[in-house]
Assembly symmetry: C2
């Protein structure tokens, strides 16, 4: 096994036994992860329902084996199985911590692009490859290993622990509301530790304090009652596709920054301290180009006065992601009468979805080219979630991660959306949320050749174990 760079861990002396127990189980953690990866628990494909069920059972067995109690596969009409468990003997004064991850995985994508079989976990250069190896079966293992290290060593945990391992995160968690309604009391906690985020780099952990929200908007543009001949009418009669292109072109300025004032009105201005913190991350634009595979000569978009991090995490987007229009092969000499475009919006901290999307709808109608009929339909929206990166839970996580990785975690945002976080935190009376993870920028979650960096996985397990002690000490409530 090629050796990965070993982190300069700095575990406090009084937790040495727990850390040693955990790091002594590296091989076990890895082989348990491999066993999970072998189950193709693809929640998006109905054919794999049995695999999702098998994955839930395997996860439940791991939780029970770690010493958790009341382990149960949660069944609910139409929901893919979630797994829960708890250990609640730390006393009423100790904080209660909900550990979240998910055991379902994405489809494999293009099978031919995998170097090795997606469901045959394989190690190369210190990384374990396989679908779900990072997202999020590594997250499951981070919780399991942390709990087990304490119970194996001390027979107890310094905090009360509840676990929720979801089975349909990769299809957008459609039953979160039902989960909350049915099991809110059972899951109620003071702190939520969600292990499904991406670390800043290999060996450099992140604590995520902001998630963008999301909404879909549909725009139908009509100019004519029916398509007409482009020869007879072209030059005097507006077609719906030109009108749609011109309308979409009003949504951004030349840099690609959103240019809809009403939509931007409530975006939280980024405090200078956060801007400086992002700049200090020292992101290498050339590495970003390579990561995302921008074509040669293609520029990043957005206001150049903002860091790339601010653009990705703290600014909203409006992106056309689909269009109902005649395909090229079927195009004839016809002026199109109707085009529908799908807009995918990412919502930034500060935006009220209703106000922001209403302003976007008004903009679209107000900017209808040639007087075209513009009809806007606003879909369901998830607002952004963000928190102040301070307070006892936050400080506990910083301390635990710094000790486990030998490096202070980066305080970052995430451009994506996790619908779970806001509603659960709210339902628990504003529970602190610690968003951590095992992925790194090379993990290619959702893509082919997904992988986890094994030494980072062990660091993540250790960080979670140390976190229990740090939370017990600081007692966030």
């Amino acid at each position: 096994m090629p050796s990965a760079p070993h982190p300069q861990r700095a575990v406090p002396d009084h937790l040495g036994d727990v850390a040693d127990a955990l790091l002594g189980q590296r091989d076990r953690i890895r082989s348990e992860l491999e066993a999970l990866v072998r189950i193709p628990s693809i929640s998006a494909l109905p054919d794999h329902a049995d695999d999702v069920a098998a994955s839930a059972e395997a996860t439940a067995a791991l939780l029970a084996d770690a010493g958790l109690e009341d382990v149960e596969v949660l069944e609910h009409d139409g929901m893919q199985p979630a797994v829960t468990g708890a250990w609640l003997h730390a006393g009423a004064d100790a904080p209660t911590v909900l550990l979240y991850a998910h055991h379902d995985v994405q489809p494999v994508g293009t099978a031919a692009r995998w170097t090795t079989e997606p469901f045959t976990p394989t190690e190369r250069d210190g990384r374990l490859y396989g679908r779900g190896a990072a997202d999020d079966k590594a997250g499951v293992m981070a919780h399991v290993a942390a709990v087990r290290a304490w119970l194996d060593t001390r027979g107890s945990l310094p905090v009360n622990v509840k676990v929720l391992i979801e089975g349909e995160e990769e299809v957008g968690s459609p039953n979160l509301t039902a989960l909350l309604e049915r099991w809110a009391t059972r899951l109620h906690s003071d702190v939520i530790v969600l292990a499904d985020l991406v670390n800043h780099d290999i060996g450099w952990p992140s604590l995520t304090y902001a998630l963008r929200g999301m909404a879909d908007v549909t725009v139908r543009v009509r100019t004519l009652a029916q398509p007409v001949h482009s020869g007879m009418w072209g030059g005097a009669v507006p077609d719906a596709l030109t009108a749609t292109a011109r309308l979409l072109a009003t949504l951004h300025d030349d840099t690609g920054e959103v240019a809809v004032p009403g939509f931007l009105a409530d975006v939280r201005p980024l405090p200078e301290v956060e801007r400086e913190r992002f700049a200090a991350l020292g992101t290498d634009p050339e590495r970003l180009r390579a990561d995302v595979r921008l074509l040669d000569g293609v520029r990043f978009i957005g206001d150049p006065a903002r860091t790339v991090e601010e653009r990705l995490w703290m600014r909203p987007t409006i992106t056309p992601t689909g269009m109902d229009v005649t395909p090229v092969a079927q195009a004839s000499n016809t002026l199109l009468s109707e085009v529908t475009a799908q807009l995918s919006c990412r919502l930034a901290p500060g935006q009220d979805p209703e106000r922001a999307l209403g302003a976007l709808a008004d903009h679209l109608v107000d900017h209808a080219p040639f007087g075209a009929e513009v009809e806007v339909t606003i879909g369901e929206a998830t607002p952004a979630w963000w928190t102040d990166p301070t307070g006892p839970a936050w400080e506990a996580a910083v301390a635990a991660m710094t000790a486990a990785y030998g490096r202070r975690p980066a305080a970052v945002g995430c451009g994506g959306s996790i619908p779970f976080v806001g509603p659960f935190s709210d339902a628990f009376g504003g529970a602190a949320c610690l968003l951590v993870g095992v992925e790194d920028p090379r993990s290619n979650a959702h893509g082919e050749d997904e992988s986890v960096h094994l030494e980072d996985l062990y660091s993540a397990c250790l960080a979670n174990a140390l976190l229990f002690a740090e939370l017990a000490e600081r007692r966030p409530a």
Copy 2:
């Protein structure tokens, strides 16, 4: 039969016998047209190949019955059958006139939108309804009836006549070059009379002196090597659909007028006399709106300083008519990496297709948003055709139409393209082209409920008959 407004015809006395013979055959012309309409000669649908063949045979029988000689169905590898015939006994000094129409028709479109069956000709309010009743079986009848009236009455024609009735005009005349190469000598003429255009109004004939050309251009826009997650990357990474929309938006100004200077550079400036002539047509914008079924509040596009006629006939267009892009139902939270758009261009008099399309391609590449990769493919182009609306053939047509309709024809352009005209005129050493027709603005050729105004059909037949005498008198060569 409801009576249509009877034209104030003014036939010269010395042609009274020919005119009487022709107008005495109204019922026969109509029933022969009905017989043609009953044959569903849809050239676009391979299933209808037998019908196109039957239609060619029926057309050949009409030509022979009218007294034309050497009638033949022209067969050529892959070509749908054309029909030819001739009468060449007017003497070497008399001009030779090629009479062109086509016997194939468009598909029926939406069958449910037809008031009566498309291939069951039916009269309502002085109009005969049926697919091909106007386009272009009425054109076939206009030639047949004109020739027959002369041969029935006088036993001779004042000009030499050749006839070409094409069988694949509605699929873009793909074998015109082959037709010309193989039968150029047999078809060689001094004047071409093409009966496939639209008259300005019911009872108000047109002579068309300009046709726009046509070209397809394909634009592929790429920003990324592959699609990426809109949450992870949205706001910093440009997507191909936004880039495509912004690129298409550079092609026109806010009025919808083409805004590509190099593309417009060679467009023939419209002489003041033509502009005045167009203005004198007295087009009613409200009627145009209704004809094309513009939605309420939608504006006409183009430079308001130009008449609608100039915009439709004498200005070029660039219109996106199709796009390869994810449909709305399949859109996911993904930044698209590649979009392809089809642009349909109408070329105006003066434009050299190669120069104009080259300038368009340069513009597209030069205006690539965000440095996107833009690849332009230029398809085959037909240049515009136009002629000076003067000279002996033109004057002959004006005289014949004025006499037959009782109204001087409008000198008009046509926004569409007829690939036949330019190459045949050129191949015959610059033969004069007279572009006439039987359709009127309510004919809805290519649409549902296609129809011909019957009294206009008889006027068109009469105009063609009188034209032979007018051409013989003026002897264009």
